[in-house]
């Protein structure tokens, strides 16, 4: 039973805000220990889905559970199992960093949590700002405090809603190191992000959301194979390309030639034909398909 219980289970969730159908029947199962990505354009319904999991929003229909606990009926257990880093950069200007974390621990019934608070502050580089008022923190620092707040009760399931928006590169890297570590230690991670290369690098599985519907859901590896559109960019010493290839080769503004292909065999054939014609390749760049291509493709097709 415990083996089969998903960390996050979402079944046919629907939510309408006045004229907008924010979620239009979303079903997902995320297993314990997964690093799961939720992608989609602005307004796709990602934050709404997360808000329903967190109990901030109530679904019109459907069901959601965290570690097997219904988010409405067993809200106490569900919320105890869940740590949420909200999308908005919110903070309480009345308190400093340490007070914020102590109070947040208290909400979960944790009285003596200073050991763990010190540890998260250390890992998130917040230790030297412990006594600073939250109002005086930089944006990146506020974001890290939000991450720390989501972790005070050591939740098995951690949800991050665009945690790296507006965060500088160094900080993003240290944040991901920390989150990856938590994932290795067994925490389930659900992440939404605008940075597709982040999702590609981190997530084992990805769901794509569009207008409140799941339009793709698979392992990152399988998704990457959906588009086998490779692209090669060539510079040639002469312009007379073989007649058979004239339709496939596109000339760009800088005088390079581009070709899209799905099998490397095609590229081999082109190179052989060029040699036969006596045209020499002076430069070549290969572009592998990435999640960005797959994402764009899926969003266009659906």
């Amino acid at each position: 039973m415990s083996q089969a219980t998903p960390a996050i289970h979402v079944d046919d969730l629907r939510k309408r805000f006045r004229t907008t159908q924010a979620l239009d029947g979303v079903s997902l199962d995320i297993l314990p220990g997964e690093f799961f990505g939720l992608l989609g354009p602005n307004g796709a319904g990602k934050t709404t889905l997360i808000s329903i999991l967190a109990g901030l929003t109530r679904a019109d229909a459907g069901q959601a559970t965290i570690m097997g606990h219904d988010v409405v009926r067993d809200y106490r257990q569900a919320r105890r199992a869940l740590g949420v880093v909200p999308q908005e950069l919110v903070y309480d200007p009345f308190f400093n960093v340490r007070e914020t974390l102590r109070i947040q621990s208290g909400y979960f019934g944790l009285k003596h949590n200073d050991g763990w608070i010190d540890e998260i502050m250390h890992h998130l580089d917040l230790a030297q700002h412990a006594d600073k008022n939250t109002q005086s923190l930089s944006g990146g620092m506020k974001r890290r405090l939000l991450v720390a707040q989501a972790l005070v009760h050591k939740p098995p399931v951690i949800v991050l809603d665009e945690p790296t928006a507006g965060v500088d590169v160094d900080l993003r890297r240290s944040l991901w190191e920390f989150i990856s570590r938590l994932n290795r230690e067994g925490h389930t991670i659900l992440l939404t992000t605008h940075y597709l290369e982040e999702a590609e690098a981190l997530c084992g599985r990805i769901a794509m959301l569009k207008s409140g519907r799941v339009v793709a859901c698979d392992t990152t590896r399988n998704l990457l194979q959906l588009t086998n559109e490779h692209c090669a960019q060539l510079r040639l010493d002469r312009d007379d390309v073989p007649v058979a290839w004239q339709d496939r080769l596109l000339r760009d503004a800088e005088g390079s030639w581009r070709i899209n292909f799905s099998e490397y065999l095609e590229l081999e054939t082109l190179l052989a034909d060029l040699r036969v014609t006596g045209v020499r390749v002076t430069e070549m760049h290969l572009q592998e398909p990435d999640l960005e291509d797959v994402f764009t493709d899926i969003m266009k097709r659906t």
């Binding site: 805000f17 809200y75 106490r76 919110v90 309480d92 007070e99 909400y107 707040q149």
Partner: protein
């Protein structure tokens, strides 16, 4: 109930960090009322026989300060959290709606009582200490703060902007407190306004509270306590219902 104690503590810490604004300022305001009104009226008005106007005014001012500050504490805390967005910090944890209610209520009551005590303390320079009915005082003080704390929770949940809360305060709370006999006895009013005052629950709070101080009142303090108790039960039931339904907090 430890989630409750954390939220209660946070609410206390919140107003204590700005104690000049939340406690000192209202005490100074009440003192100014006392100085001005007792200076103008002391020689001319004797509401109850043997009771100086200043002695009559003090309990009214103490009560008025408690009412306004209890209301202000819960309502402004909630609206600030909603406007800033940090309300999610208390919505994400496994706090029950009852814990939520009791924490905001308790902190607002405490702020009301502290301000009331402060106002009373500074008025002791101007009116002699007297307290014939301390139990009535305690009962009225607690109930009055509790009612306004709960009204403040409702207002804080309902208001979506600061000016909506200000409207609530200016068009409901302020008239109710001023038209309640803080500065005069309702017996000095024309019959129509007397009747109006008698449906204003705040009138009973002030009148009964004054009874604890001067031993005289416009109505039976027992009846007043009943009215206050009924008001508290009603407003608490409404607040709990709103919180349970997630009205304007969980969309």
């Amino acid at each position: 109930m430890s989630g409750f104690s954390a939220l209660f503590y946070k609410e206390l810490l919140r107003f204590w960090k700005v104690v000049v604004q939340t406690v000192v300022a209202p005490v100074v305001t009440a003192l100014l009322y006392l100085l001005i009104f007792s200076h103008v009226l002391e020689a001319h008005v004797e509401v109850y026989p043997g009771v100086s106007y200043t002695s009559f005014l003090v309990p009214g001012l103490v009560m008025m300060s408690m009412l306004q500050n209890a209301f202000s504490n819960s309502s402004s805390s909630l609206i600030q959290s909603k406007m800033q967005g940090n309300i999610v910090f208390v919505l994400l944890p496994p706090l029950s709606y009852l814990e939520f209610f009791l924490a905001y209520l308790g902190a607002a009551i405490l702020r009301g009582l502290i301000v009331g005590l402060g106002v009373w303390a500074v008025t002791l320079w101007y009116a002699p200490f007297q307290l014939p009915h301390p139990v009535w005082l305690l009962a009225y003080a607690l109930l009055a703060c509790a009612i306004m704390a709960a009204v403040g929770i409702v207002a804080g949940i309902w208001a979506e902007k600061y000016d909506q809360l200000a409207a609530f305060q200016n068009f409901l709370i302020l008239p109710l407190t001023f038209l309640s006999g803080v500065f005069y006895s309702i017996h000095s009013l024309p019959p129509f306004w007397q009747a109006v005052s008698r449906v204003n629950p705040v009138f009973y709070l002030i009148d009964g509270f004054r009874y604890a101080f001067v031993g005289q009142s416009d109505t039976d303090p027992g009846l007043g306590l009943l009215v206050a108790g009924a008001c508290f039960v009603a407003i608490s039931a409404l607040t709990l219902m709103l919180l349970k339904s997630g009205y304007k907090l969980r969309h």
